[in-house]
Symmetry: C2
Subunit: 344 residues, 2 copies
């Protein structure tokens, strides 16, 4: 049978149906987190009846939810016993230091959902139909980000700290600017590795309260300096050895990012580096899946934000005076570092 | 290196992040349908600029949306040109007879979303916290189902009609009861294959208006009889050669289903068959994915509904007097037929 004669596969609507039903997966995971179901399993409840008792829920409801969580990849099932996967145990046991359950408050904030219910309008306009999306000064959603998203940033924070420690460890003084400091853990992790480092944390004043508290908890208060305000407006000062710009540039158009990068360039010592944490899709813009989809997240929630490719960051960095940046993958994390040096 | 010494994979939060962000995929597909973007591509627009013009939208918004739709599997991309997959062309071109875009009104009805926002409460209670979920008499959501979901039911309707035509084609008279007739296309498709068949359609009175209109459009009005009301309360009569129960039994507990099956048994001629269209998971209840996940859909939206296994349907059918049922898969569709005969 030649290729032309092979019958086409019968039409299959399952991808359409499953995609639309995807909201049920969102709320299944949220319900499990709200019930602290993963912690109950971690503590030794394994059958639906045992988990139901531990979670004060109906056995029937727990059985159906747990079966769905198996389909979704968060649990395994052997006979009638449910167990955690290693990732679920690491991130969704509420006793874990890496617990991600609090991130749901940010990720499923009513503002985020509302932006996406209006996605058609955003496509028509080319950006959020809201005036500024999430970018208004002191938008309280960034408090939720700071409180919930830190565990997802640990591998990136450790990678940044390791990189800077290798380069700057022998210097008597190190001065780091942490732009969009949020929870503060990028700068704090650097300060833990570099005992001589002074950290200057920039973010909205309300968000910096979270960073300040975390810095104090980790004994960094004396080396942790607050710079409240917009990254476009605050004076950075000078003499920095490295400037971190994490989870920020995706919110803005390239011209705005170049403006910020020029400020960073001016604030860095010669040979200093800007370290950008971002979702960086390939040049095709449709791979890998998570960085590529992040562009849509920005379309829905910002006027002109995007997930930029390395080539696009290269243009922005070079236009600001930097050398061509290098990409540092953080796999399996979906984000990467884009690191560019100010020439000596 | 022995198995014990192999390092564990680093913790990976991508499944958690992607699942929670899944609401963005829901609304991306909805936005594309609302903009009639797939039809624009089908008509010959392929670049973001061309599609934007056709859809009266911003090129930037269309570019980002189309890239997301590539990641999601609904489009392909070559250079800067987007094309439809064969399934997208079949189901999402609004000129296609199989167009599924209208199903989104049912699948994303505010009532459905609200049920899932309350899923934690449903797990605690073991069923929807609403009194009757979607099961109140004349609930208008079933009008939306009838108006939008018919294209997804075409393969099942054709399978049912083919099966009944093979068995009943030589008989001078054929009498079919179509319970939960909805859009009517199960009975209508049978009537198209069996010109001697009289169809008795049972559903809520408001829903039967949709079925009646579809029957008239297909020239079946003279052989199409309406039986408005609840399948639990309406008298079925007798002398039926086959009884269809489509997309209905999953809404109820087994005892209620046995009651309905006993009524069907009494209404069938000896040798007659009940033909049940359902999501039927395997005995493990966690495969295949779509039928297994359907149990959660019922937990969220009904007091006691579920996706039952073939073994469970076997028990219900035998308790109602039927022979052991057989499973008829309808792959690639996610549903199956469960067919049980009344003994001669």
């Amino acid at each position: 049978m030649s290729a032309q004669q092979q019958p086409a596969a019968p039409p299959n609507p399952v991808l359409i149906f499953s995609t639309v039903q995807g909201y049920q997966r969102v709320y299944a995971l949220k319900a499990a987190v709200d019930l602290d179901l993963f912690t109950a399993i971690a503590k030794g409840s394994h059958t639906a009846a045992e988990i139901a008792t531990a979670c004060n829920a109906a056995e029937r409801g727990v059985r159906i939810l747990c079966d769905a969580l198996v389909v979704m990849g968060f649990l395994t099932k052997a006979g009638d016993r449910y167990s955690l996967t290693s990732d679920t145990a690491f991130f969704l046991d509420s006793r874990s230091p890496a617990y991600l359950g609090r991130a749901f408050t940010f990720l499923l904030h009513p503002t985020q959902l509302t932006h996406f219910e209006q996605l058609g309008a955003a496509v028509r306009k080319g950006g959020t139909p809201d005036d500024q999306g999430n970018l208004a000064p002191d938008d309280p959603i960034w408090i939720e980000f700071a409180k919930g998203m830190a565990p997802m940033m640990v591998p990136a924070a450790q990678a940044i700290a390791g990189m800077l420690a290798a380069e700057l460890g022998s210097r008597p003084r190190v001065k780091i600017l942490d732009i969009a400091a949020s929870h503060g853990f990028f700068g704090i992790t650097v300060a833990q590795k570099l005992s001589q480092a002074e950290i200057y944390a920039l973010d909205w004043a309300n968000v910096l309260e979270v960073a300040k508290e975390n810095a104090a908890k980790h004994g960094m208060a004396g080396r942790y300096h607050l710079m409240p305000g917009s990254a476009f407006d605050v004076e950075y000062g000078t003499g920095f050895d490295a400037i971190l710009i994490t989870n920020l540039l995706h919110h803005f158009e390239p011209a705005a990012n170049e403006k910020m990068l020029k400020k960073a360039y001016a604030a860095l010592n010669p040979g200093g580096q800007v370290v950008i944490l971002e979702f960086v899709p390939n040049d095709d813009r449709v791979s890998p899946p998570v960085p590529a989809m992040f562009s849509l997240t920005m379309l829905g929630s910002t006027p002109q934000g995007d997930a930029y490719t390395l080539a696009e960051y290269g243009t922005m960095c070079r236009n600001a005076g930097f050398e061509a940046p290098r990409l540092v993958p953080l796999e399996p994390m979906p984000q990467s570092l884009v690191v560019a040096r100010k020439p000596f």
